[in-house]
Amino acid sequence: MTELSAVAESDLQGIRDLDIDDVLAYVHSDLKRLPDYTELYRRYLRQRWDVYDLDFTQDALDWRERMTQDERDAFVGVSAGFHHGERQVEVELPVFMLGGSEESKIYMSSQIEDEARHTVFFDRFYREVVGMPGDSVQDVLDASFEHVSETFVGPFGLLAYQADELRRDPEDAAARVRYGTTYFLWIEGVLALSVMKITLTYCRRRGFLPGYYTGFTATCRDEARHVQFGMRFLRDSVREDPRLLLQIHETLRTILAINGATSRTLALEALGWSADEVRRLMIRQLKMKLVDVGIALAPDIEEMVTRIEPELAGG
């Protein structure tokens, strides 16, 4: 079995043995071909996993006894952006499902379920490993919010307001493309995959947090479908109406403008990363997707891309 087919076919037990680089290669392997929505939905049915099958017993031990305080602080800081990001996209996605083809709607139902499951994954991790208190999902979100950077509201607040815009007319092609650029290209395709690479590489190198590694690697495999859906949606939208490329550009100008603000120091060194490495990772994630699906950028946006600041969140 090749590495990529192992990624595609592994059950939850097998996912624990996968390397995150192979999963990231799997995310990009189909970007040139871009499977249709029904194929992605069928893949979801094969790859769906049960978040309650994960065992965090060893993770709790690692957290208390093997990880340093610096590592714990950095890990919580990085993963809090994902905890809230998953919640946010779970809430904002249904409005996108109201528009598009029937195949798109069917596929989108699976992505909403994925995002809800990912929210539960982080809820379990924060309760059972980090030890955050709470009787409800909201309680745990409230407890972890202090670790979320102030600049989180940039991309995720933008998505919330774009969802409101889309709610007024779910078939508005320009609004769908603007929403899709923020969500599928930036949040899923750049922010999420970068955080996955950082935290999962750390876990694998150090041999820590096997429950987190398993669940988050499975989450990353889910992201492959999400990114491929999103890139197909953007590519097809521009093919149908080339003027929509301007909507992608305007959205990217906004996203990259707000990316320049950083409110907190990210303790990346404790996880084995430098700010420059994260910057390069984010630029690479963005460019791979744009090149593979043939979305060209205006020169001023190319220039903004070179100045991307490390930003750790996802959904």
């Binding site: 919010f145 509201v153 607040g157 933008l158 307001y161 100008r253 906004t254 603000a261 950083t262 409110s263």
Partner: protein, 142 residues
């Protein structure tokens, strides 16, 4: 300690304007964050109408060349470029120190009119201005 003024009155609007114009205390976050906000604010010209749903009224703030030059209470948003609205409980939570970014994220303050992308190009300037003006000491409306 200043005597609280009544929320959503002309006196409060002027105090909110002055607070927004003075800007946030630049502390607790990286200097680059405050620099970003200063760049966003420099030359900023627009009108925000911030609504209180139960009252059917708006705090209309006029920004001109980076200064907040007027703050009035109005029954409608007029020609404001950005119209946002929240209920009384949300405004109360903001007065009590709730995170304004989270208020936006949870859509408790909604953008009812205005270009979403243009609005977000100054989002941290907006969020910090909202935090500053909403914490002006005020007694609830009767």
């Amino acid at each position: 300690m200043p005597t609280p003024i009544r929320f959503f009155t002309p006196e409060w609007a002027e105090a909110a304007r002055a607070a927004a114009d003075a800007g946030p205390a630049q502390e607790g976050k990286l200097p680059s964050y405050w620099s970003w906000i200063e760049r966003a604010r420099a030359g900023y010209t627009a009108r925000w109408a911030l609504g209180l749903r139960e009252a059917g009224a708006y705090l209309v703030l006029t920004w001109k060349d980076g200064r907040c030059v007027e703050g009035v209470i109005a029954p409608d948003p007029g020609d404001a470029e950005y119209v946002l609205a929240a209920d009384e409980a949300t405004w109360q939570d903001l007065r009590d120190g709730a995170d304004p970014g989270r208020i936006v994220m949870y859509r408790r303050l909604r953008l009812e009119r205005g270009d979403v992308l243009a609005f977000f190009r100054v989002i941290y300037f907006f969020v910090e201005s909202l935090a500053t003006l909403s914490r002006v000491a005020a007694t609830p409306r009767p």
